[in-house]
């Protein structure tokens, strides 16, 4: 047991507005900054998806005012093919990087990891501040690409070479658009590397007295495991992005082979490899989807336990399974490349770990279900979203069985089946994790309560809406509906357009429902009822034993001392239905894992 908390206390409470709210060293402020960044990003990403969906349902529809976004992209408000792809690329990039990585990991992790570990702050507060501001710069750079001459890149969030590396001849946005994209992502990687470093050190070296690793709540474990992935995954993507930029500005040919001809002109490149980019990208890309989902698993476990009034059937099995996901995530990445021209033996080699990774996922789901059994389930907005997460994770995970098999992948690769799969398992599930965390931790973060009725309406509509959008994607994919198409002109796709129309209506509905959440969030932040006490959900972990909102050094004058495992609920013979980690009350229970 280390007690390094003295190191973090080096900075006192700031007094100026700028140090307090903008260039703050306080992990809690940085966490909120990340949250707000994610909120802005998700709103942009969502509006983009509305425009895309409208276009997919009604391809020749003029969307009033669209030309204001881009005169060349939407002349006369009719979307051009390239503009669809540009919006799609921005939608995917914003969602994956600036929403799903920032909100569950960087935002909640920043705010709550040090508190749950019993630390006064992160060990490297300056790095932490830079982590946010570098990420923020990345976001500004990405958004800036909307305003360069031919708009943002159209190459998809995966930016496959040589389209991404050949320069402006490839199409609109393939010049400066790609350079800005790659620069933005490189910034993002640096930001997350700083963050991961802090998370890892906080977890390993900053825990308070009595806080053994296994006494950390599952949410803290989620962030810790994610930060280890982050450290290794972003460290690969960043150099890949730099090489991509060099192919544009320095005349290098990392990703462009010789002899390519565009518009009857031989490209001035030679010796690069397009598969190299795919390997580098997916070596990052597959861990990335676990970076998006593992914090959600931690948050959902934490929220569920509090609302089930019992610990998980096994604390350790969840931790080990999450760790197994993290390790396996590096060994499966080739399943994105089954038909890429990679050696077909490699495809089989990547297929087996992919099938194996379903085992730890299944274990986690079964433990969740088994723990629900015989619990005293409290229904509130937070627990509803946690339960919704489980449902979405099951639905999205099961389609993974198909995609894991190269032979079936021949049929559904690059179709809407994949789009349905990753939206459910990564997009919606992770969003539900964010919602669960928001409704749950809001009182601790802002000292006020969110409106529960609105929260429940938000849940029910989002749950139904998300299924209405993303389930039909699977059917389309099975019928062979190719993804990343801006309109469906193939004879065999035209009959499927009514399904797309249905999805569009569902997407607009679900999107509109999110405005209820945004309203609830903003209203409650400033006008919501004050949190009745420091522990409104009767939780046990350290964030509930400190003031609301927590003081600058998290715990005031007295550092906490931990006596128990994180989740002492419904302990027999105890004075109450729960025993906090800081309570010295003895526990005589076989559940106490030493």
């Amino acid at each position: 047991m280390h007690d390094m908390s003295a190191h973090a206390a080096q900075h006192g409470a700031p007094t100026s507005f700028i140090r307090k709210h903008i260039f703050s060293l306080d992990h809690k402020v940085i966490g909120k900054q990340y949250y707000d960044l994610a909120l802005v990003a998700v709103l942009i990403g969502m509006v983009l998806s509305w425009i895309m969906r409208l276009h997919l349902g009604w391809a020749s529809l003029a969307i009033p005012g669209l030309h204001l976004l881009s005169k060349t992209g939407a002349p006369g408000d009719v979307m051009t093919p390239e503009y669809y792809l540009q919006l799609m690329t921005m939608h995917g990039t914003i969602m994956v990087f600036f929403v799903l990585t920032t909100a569950p990991f960087a935002a909640f992790g920043n705010f709550f990891l040090p508190i749950q570990a019993g630390a006064e702050d992160m060990p490297f507060p300056h790095f932490n501040m830079m982590s946010f501001w570098v990420t923020f710069t990345g976001f500004i750079v990405l958004v800036a690409s909307f305003f360069v001459s031919d708009g943002p890149t159209l190459g998809g969030w995966t930016q496959y070479a040589p389209l991404s590396a050949a320069g402006p001849v490839g199409g609109p946005g393939e010049g400066w658009g790609v350079v800005l994209w790659a620069a933005s992502i490189a910034f993002f990687c640096v930001g997350q590397l700083f963050g991961s470093l802090n998370f890892i050190t906080t977890t390993l070296d900053m825990r308070c007295k009595g806080m053994s690793l296994l006494r950390l709540p599952l949410s803290a474990w989620g962030w810790f495991i994610t930060s280890v992935m982050g450290l290794t995954a972003f460290a690969v993507l960043m150099p890949a992005c730099i090489l991509l930029i060099l192919d544009h500005v320095a005349g290098t040919s990392f990703f462009v082979p010789g002899g390519l001809v565009v518009n009857d002109q031989v490209l001035p490149h030679q010796g690069g490899s397009t598969l190299l980019w795919q390997h580098l990208f997916w070596f990052f890309g597959h861990p990335e989807v676990y970076i998006a989902i593992v914090p959600g698993m931690g948050i959902v476990s934490h929220v569920l336990i509090t609302n089930m009034r019992r610990p998980m059937l096994s604390h350790r099995v969840i931790i080990y399974s999450m760790a197994a996901l993290a390790v396996l995530s590096y060994m499966v990445y080739g399943h994105h490349m089954f038909v890429s021209g990679m050696n077909p033996v490699s495809s089989l080699a990547f297929s087996f770990p992919t099938l194996v990774i379903t085992i730890p996922s299944a274990i986690i789901v079964l433990i969740w279900l088994g723990s629900l059994y015989g619990s005293k389930l409290r229904i509130n907005s937070a627990s509803l979203f946690a339960l919704g997460f489980i449902s979405m994770f099951i639905s999205g995970g099961i389609s993974g069985f198909f995609l894991a098999q190269p032979s079936i992948d021949i049929m559904v690769h690059a179709t809407y089946f994949v789009v349905g799969h990753f939206h459910l398992v990564m997009g919606v599930a992770a969003m539900f994790g964010i919602f669960a965390g928001t409704y749950f931790w809001f009182p601790k973060m802002f000292g006020r309560m969110m409106n529960e009725t609105l929260g429940k309406i938000h849940f029910w509509c989002s749950f139904v809406g998300a299924y209405a959008i993303f389930m039909p994607f699977h059917y389309l994919g099975i019928a062979g509906n190719v993804r990343r198409y801006q309109a469906f002109v193939d004879d065999y796709l035209i009959p499927l357009i009514p399904v797309h129309k249905f999805i569009t209506v569902a997407a607009l509905f679900t999107g509109a429902v999110q405005l209820i959440f945004v309203y609830n969030l903003i209203y409650s932040r400033f006008k919501g009822p004050k949190a009745p006490n420091d522990n409104p959900w009767e939780g046990t972990s350290l964030e509930w034993s400190t003031a609301t909102p927590p003081p600058h050094n998290n715990f005031g004058d007295k550092m906490p001392v931990v006596y128990h495992d994180p989740y002492q609920y419904s302990v027999e013979g105890a004075s109450a239905d729960y025993i906090m980690q800081t309570s010295p009350e003895p526990v005589h229970s076989p559940d106490e894992e030493k």
């Binding site: 390519l260 001809v261 021209g341 409290r378 469906f488 609920y569």
Partner: protein, 273 residues
């Protein structure tokens, strides 16, 4: 609220399964796998069907269980005790390994057969060679002509402006002289085709759902696939690898013909060169 959510989950689970089972979407829109016109496709379809059964059962079972637990355990009385799931965590871990483990192992092992039928068997020596070239945003095809050999591709001669799509030098390369370049792909039925895939510019893909074939074109690296079509008809070859603004409209028609029709067609095309 808990009961409403439980019912919602059940309804969604059942509604989700209906189009999978009936292969139709309201309005009589077919959303099942397209018909199969290949010799190897049945292996993929069987694999798909097996997976669908296992996945479908897991999906329904876990969603219904989730719904039931939400319904059942959200209504408790103050004095109720926490109950432990029979078998506990150990039981569940063992179950996961046994059920999911054997399930995925079986799928994985049997699946290699379908994969192998496409990728691990060499094309037979008398397979007919056709070259496909993918470029922004059209496919072109090349038949070797009577000499049976393809002339070399010269990137600097590629010219869409003068319809020299493959960059052939018909004056200097004797092999190129009789090559036949077409915008449509015609193949004889029940004859194995060895498709040589060349990308002119970007990453593209060759996808014919009915043929159960999808393979990327790799710029700078020529790859090949082989297949046999068993049913005469007109099908679509579409690009599935994002290649630029015209990706959605990058396609060609595949005409599967009788041998006689094919010979006639090839003669016609040769005359048009």
């Amino acid at each position: 609220m808990a009961k409403l959510v439980a019912v919602t989950i059940v309804v969604i689970a059942i509604l989700s399964a209906i189009p999978i089972i009936t292969h139709t979407w309201p309005g009589n829109i077919s959303v099942g796998l397209p018909q199969d016109i290949s010799t190897h496709g049945y292996l993929i379809d069987e694999q798909y069907a097996d997976t669908m059964i296992e996945a479908g059962v897991s999906f329904l079972a876990s969603q219904l269980l989730l719904a039931y637990f939400i319904w059942r355990f959200s209504s408790y009385k103050p004095g109720d005790k926490i109950k432990k799931f029979p078998g506990g965590a150990t039981g569940l871990v063992v179950a996961a390994f046994l059920l999911v483990g054997t399930e995925v192992l079986a799928l994985g092992v049997f699946g290699t057969k379908a994969w192998g039928s496409v990728y691990f068997t060499p094309p037979s020596p008398n397979a007919m060679a056709v070259q496909a070239q993918a470029g922004q945003f059209a496919f072109y095809f090349r038949y070797p002509g009577p000499d049976g050999t393809f002339g070399p591709i010269h990137p600097n001669l590629v010219s869409e402006a003068s319809a020299n799509f493959f960059g052939l030098d018909t004056t200097n390369d004797p092999d190129s002289k009789d090559d036949i370049v077409t915008a449509e792909m015609a193949i004889p039925v029940n004859r194995e085709i060895h498709l040589l895939m060349h990308s002119k510019d970007m990453g593209h893909s060759f996808y014919v759902p009915e043929l159960r074939i999808q393979q990327d074109f790799v710029p700078g690296l020529d790859v090949s696939v082989h297949f046999t079509a068993t049913k005469i008809g007109k099908y679509e070859i579409v690009c599935t690898q994002l290649c630029g603004l015209g990706h959605y409209n990058m396609k060609a028609y595949l005409e599967v013909m009788s041998q006689e029709d094919f010979d006639k067609w090839l003669k016609q095309q040769a005359a048009l060169q």
